[in-house]
Structure formats: C-alpha cells, structure tokens
C-alpha cells in the first residue's frame, strides 16, 4: 500500500530545495555523461535532457517511492528524479554487469523497480498504453499507487497516444500523462507535424482534464503536477500535462542542432531553467549560495564515485546471453 504523503499544493522552501537538488543532479549527470561519452570511455546513444530538467523533479518530488514511472529514451531526468541510484545507472550506461539491467538494456531501457522505474522504452509513444496497464493493476489492487508517464511533443501524433488516452479516461485510471513539449521531434518543428495549437487541446478528445504549463517554472510545474497527482490518487482519473520546454543539446549525441535557427536557440537558452531556478531560490530566501554550492559539491562527489564504479565494474559474462530471455535459462 502506497504511503499517502501529503504534499502541499504550492511548494514551500523544503519542496523547492528538494526539487532543485534533483534538477541539479540531472543537469550535472547529463553533463558528465556527455563528457564521458566524448572521451570515448563509454559508447552509447544518449538523449540529453539539458534544458528540460525542471519537469520531472517537480512531478517526482510529489510521488511515493512505489509510484510507477514509465519513460522514454530521453528519460535520464525521470530516472534520477524518481531515485534510480547513480551507480546502477552509470554502470548500465557503461554496459556493465552491475548496471540496473545487467548491461542488457542500456540507457534506453533503464529499469529499477525499487525506485518505481519499471519501463523505459525506445519506441515513441509506446509507454502510454503500458502506463495504463500499471495503473489498472493499482486500481484493481487498491494499492494507492499512481503511474506517471513521460513522452515528447512528437509522441502526441502517434496512434498509441490516442488509444492510450482514450482508454485511461474511460477506465478512470490513476495516470498522469506528462508531455514534455520541447517543440522539436528530432529535427522537425512542432508546427510542421502537429495539427493543433496546444497538445493540451487534445485532452478534449478524451474528456480528460489537460493543461499547458511552463515546464521551466518549478512553481507552476509543481502546482500542475499536484493537481494531477491528487486527482489520480483520489480516483478522479487521468490528467494530461503539457510542459513547455526546450532541449539545448541536440536530439542525441552527435547532433549539433544545426536545424534550429540560432535566434530560436538563443531565446530558449535565455530561459535556461537551471540558473532561473537558482535565482528563484536565492531571491526568495529559500537557500544561500553556500547551500546551493554544497548541493553541487555533493553531486560532484557522487558522480565521481559512480563513474569510477561503473568503469571499474566487470563486463557481463557471455553466459548472460542465455539468461532473462525467459524465466528459465535457455541455450540462446
């Protein structure tokens, strides 16, 4: 039974500091991952959440550990915000036996049930119907859990989105659909591929409450998430949150964002959510420079340790090729 914690409808100092710590963990981990990949020590595709760090923490800070999260290839922010330990995450990026998936899944499929991270998929939109199944199980068991599923703006044009939101609404499933609208699908702009002004306008197709919110604003994000989570937890059914944001680092490593006009990128970076959040904490008297520096210092140490752990972990044994295909080992 999921503990019914009471989170305030508006974030106070403690909540903002909690969210900020997670935001900084995401930002610094992402930067380190990109650095380590560039150095050649790890070879993997990586989908940077740089610029989008505020969304997941604002949601996940209001979840219980056993609430479920379903996410996608661009999922680092969810993994970390929901509590996947740095070491097993890094070891998975490095393809090692100590990774959260024993090196078999990789970053695109990070799974850590203890943190509630049960599915990470590489197929656009496919997490949505799966989130329904998790939520349906919670509804049947009455375990009080809710399920949050994250996807991008591009995913709102695929069939699974439509089928999933329709079913969730009909069955009043305890799901929060979080669409991180960074206005690009790979190299393509939102307007070119999405025949509706706001993705939240699509909520009406499913009689589902839906809202568009500034995903870079931790207070607005917290409030939107709070309403959706409360609704889901109290049996009120699903909510669609469209969180407006931007990605600064290309779709994946190797992508230099050449297709994004310089002025668009510059304007987006003006709104970088991380310094903005830092300023909010300082200006609002929620934290001192020294306290925020201490957070970063601690994360840096943890990262040093995790990277070290990952790169010194053993590779998976060839025998692993025969395991986890079925419940029983087979000769693969």
């Amino acid at each position: 039974m999921s503990t019914q914690q009471n989170f305030p409808a508006e974030p106070g100092t403690a909540e903002l500091r909690d969210v900020y710590s997670r935001v900084m963990l995401i930002k610094m981990t992402d930067e380190r991952i990109r650095r380590v990949i560039r150095s050649g020590r790890i070879a993997t595709p990586h989908y940077s959440p740089r610029g989008q760090e505020v969304i997941a923490p604002s949601v996940c800070a209001q979840l219980n550990p056993d609430d479920y999260v379903v996410t996608i290839y661009r999922g680092l922010q969810d993994h970390l915000a929901k509590g996947v330990p740095l070491k097993s995450l890094w070891a998975e990026y490095a393809g090692r036996a100590t990774g959260s998936c024993k090196g078999k899944g990789g970053p695109m499929h990070i799974t850590h049930p203890a943190a509630g991270v049960v599915v990470t998929t590489g197929i656009v939109g496919s997490g949505i119907p799966i989130a329904n199944g998790l939520a349906w199980a919670s509804q049947l068991k009455g375990d009080g859990r809710i399920t949050v599923t994250n996807f991008g703006d591009g995913a709102s044009n695929i069939g699974a989105f439509h089928e999933g939101l329709n079913l969730a609404s009909l069955w009043k499933l305890p799901v929060v659909f979080v669409c991180s609208n960074n206005t690009y699908s790979e190299h393509t702009t939102y307007e070119k591929v999405t025949a509706v002004k706001r993705i939240s306008d699509r909520g009406a197709s499913y009689s589902m409450p839906a809202v568009t919110v500034d995903g870079n604003d931790p207070i607005a994000m917290w409030k939107a998430a709070h309403e959706a989570i409360t609704r889901a937890r109290s049996g009120g059914g699903p909510t669609l949150i469209e969180a407006m944001t931007f990605r600064f680092e290309g779709h994946t490593n190797g992508d230099d964002s050449h297709y994004i006009p310089a002025d668009v990128m510059a304007a987006a970076k003006e709104k970088d959510p991380v310094p903005r959040f830092r300023k909010l904490l300082l200006d609002g008297g929620h934290a001192t420079e020294a306290e925020l520096d201490a957070i970063e210092a601690k994360i840096k140490d943890d990262l040093d340790e995790a990277v070290d752990y990952a790169l010194n972990s053993p590779w998976p044994d060839a025998a692993e090729l025969n395991r986890d295909i079925y419940d029983e080992e087979i000769e693969a």
């Binding site: 799966i130 079913l167 079925y326 419940d327």
Partner: protein
Amino acid sequence: MSAEAETKPAQIIGVQAINMALMEAMEADPTVLVFGEDVADPEGGGVLKCTDGLSTRFGDHRVRSTPISEQAIMGAAVGAAIAGMRPVAEIMLMNFISVAMDQLVNHAAKIRYMSGGATSVPLVVRTLTGAGMSLGGQHSDMLEAWLAHTPGLKVVIPSNPADYKGLLLSCIEDDNPCVFIENSTLMYTPGDAPPPGYKVPLGKASTPRVGSDVTLVSYGRPVLDCIAVADKLAAEGISVEVVDLRTIVPMDEAAIFASVGKTGRVVIVHEAVKRFGVGAEIAARINEECHGQLKAPVGRIGAKYSPVPFSSALEKDYIWTAAGIEAAVRKVMG
C-alpha cells in the same frame, strides 16, 4: 444408455474448453484478468462466447470489454503483467496483431531481457485465425512464424478441445508472455472433454498415432487430417506416426528427433504459408540432427505463397489437403 456411451467421455468444443480454462484460472487466481473487444457479458461474452459468464461471475473490474484499440489492449496487458497481474488479452483475430506488433514484440517479448530480469511480463494473448471459411485475405492468416522468430515469446497452437483447455491453463500460469492461437474451425469441432484440473505442459508434443514407417510432424488444425491419413494408410500396412507439436516455442525437438530417428522419413504439415514458415526451421533442424538417419528428403506441406483467397474454389487448394498429405507420405515412402 448403452455401455459404450457411458464410457465415452463427454464431448466439448474449443469454445467450451477456452471458457472452462478461463473460469478455472480466474477462480484460482485473483490476479487473472480477461479483456478485449466484446468479452464482457453485456457485450454477449465474446463474439464466439469464449468469455461468456466471466464478467458476471468475476466482476467487470476483472473482465472488461475494450475499445477497438489493439495497441491499448496489448499495452495494458504488458503494464498489468509487470505490476504482477496475469492478464489474458484477446486480440479478436490474428491479423489484428499487426496493429499491436510493437507492444508484442518490442515490449512484451523483450522487457524481461532488456531489464536484466528486473521485470517480467506474464501475459497471455489469445487470438483466433485460420483459413477455410471464406474470410479472405485479412482475416485468416497464420502468423506464428513471426512470433516464433521473436525470442521471448512462447507460442501455442492446440489441435483439440482437451489441449485447448490444458494448454491455456499452462499459458496463464507461465511467467513468460504466451501467444495462444485458436483456430476458427477447431473452435467448433467436438472432442473429448478433459477431467477437471487438466493441464498440458508447454513444450511437450503429443503422439496421437504411433507408427514406424513415416513421421508426420504437425500442429493445429492439420493434425486432424494427419490422423485421418495415418488411419487410412494403416489399413494398407503403412505405419504412420503423428507428432502433434502443440507448442511452437518452446518446441519439443526431442520428440521430433526421436520419431524421425525411428522412422527415417518425415513430412511436416502446417497451415501457414510454407515458404519461410515454421516448417522450414523444423526441416532444417531435422536435417542437422538426423543427417545420417533420413531415408528420404524431408517433406514439407504448407500454404501456397499468396494471400488467402476468398473464393472457396481457390481457398481449398491454397492450404494443405488430406490428399496432399497422403501423397507426400507415399512420396517419402519411395
């Protein structure tokens, strides 16, 4: 009532076998869920009545009619299974898995592996198909070869009511994603009712006819014609063994090799398109493992390389026939 009638077990059809298995499984295990298009009782308990009575007995929280949204159905099964339920999802006809292939092959089949065993997906997909009823190109396909080529799935194709029941129960209890393929004709073909609690393990072939001259390896509906041909040829002194695979994955290769080791002659028969079908793998494996023991090249029978035709005039020549099986047996007999 004559003595003979008394000893003959009651006859049931596939539809009843499925219904019995689902009733038993839902009764025994509260995590078993049934859902799909029209499956609940207000919708008639399924178009074929396979799920008749379930929602009335177990409640509409566990038995749900869904929208026509196969991706949502399959995805809900994947998610519920990960969360510890045992979903039994119905995809009305097998051709419709083509709209849900992503959930089935990229997710159900792979999630255990990709998570390094951290999660598992104990779901069952029941689906119906089969040629011979003039349903045409989009309602009749046998697609088990796609699924067998997808590691992580188990694939089951029974040939008689008792196996329908016994194998479906095993699928529901199995901790892996299982696709259970029903045949439109067999669903109405009577057979012996199994005793209560009857279960058939996955991956074990049966041998409805024992013989020494030729082995017929088959599964699903053509098994009936294999048996008929075996019985007919027995009268001529040709001793035909019939191996009914029952499950394609895992496959009971030991049973195949043992039989072929004994007879030295084999014909594989399935309903699906022959080319690139399951029979190709079986033939390849027999050639690999029984190399010195074969007295004739391995025979293979399957559907022609074409979509399923509508007209009964064409459909009957599109799939296997008893005459074709007989001819193939005579051919390997030399």
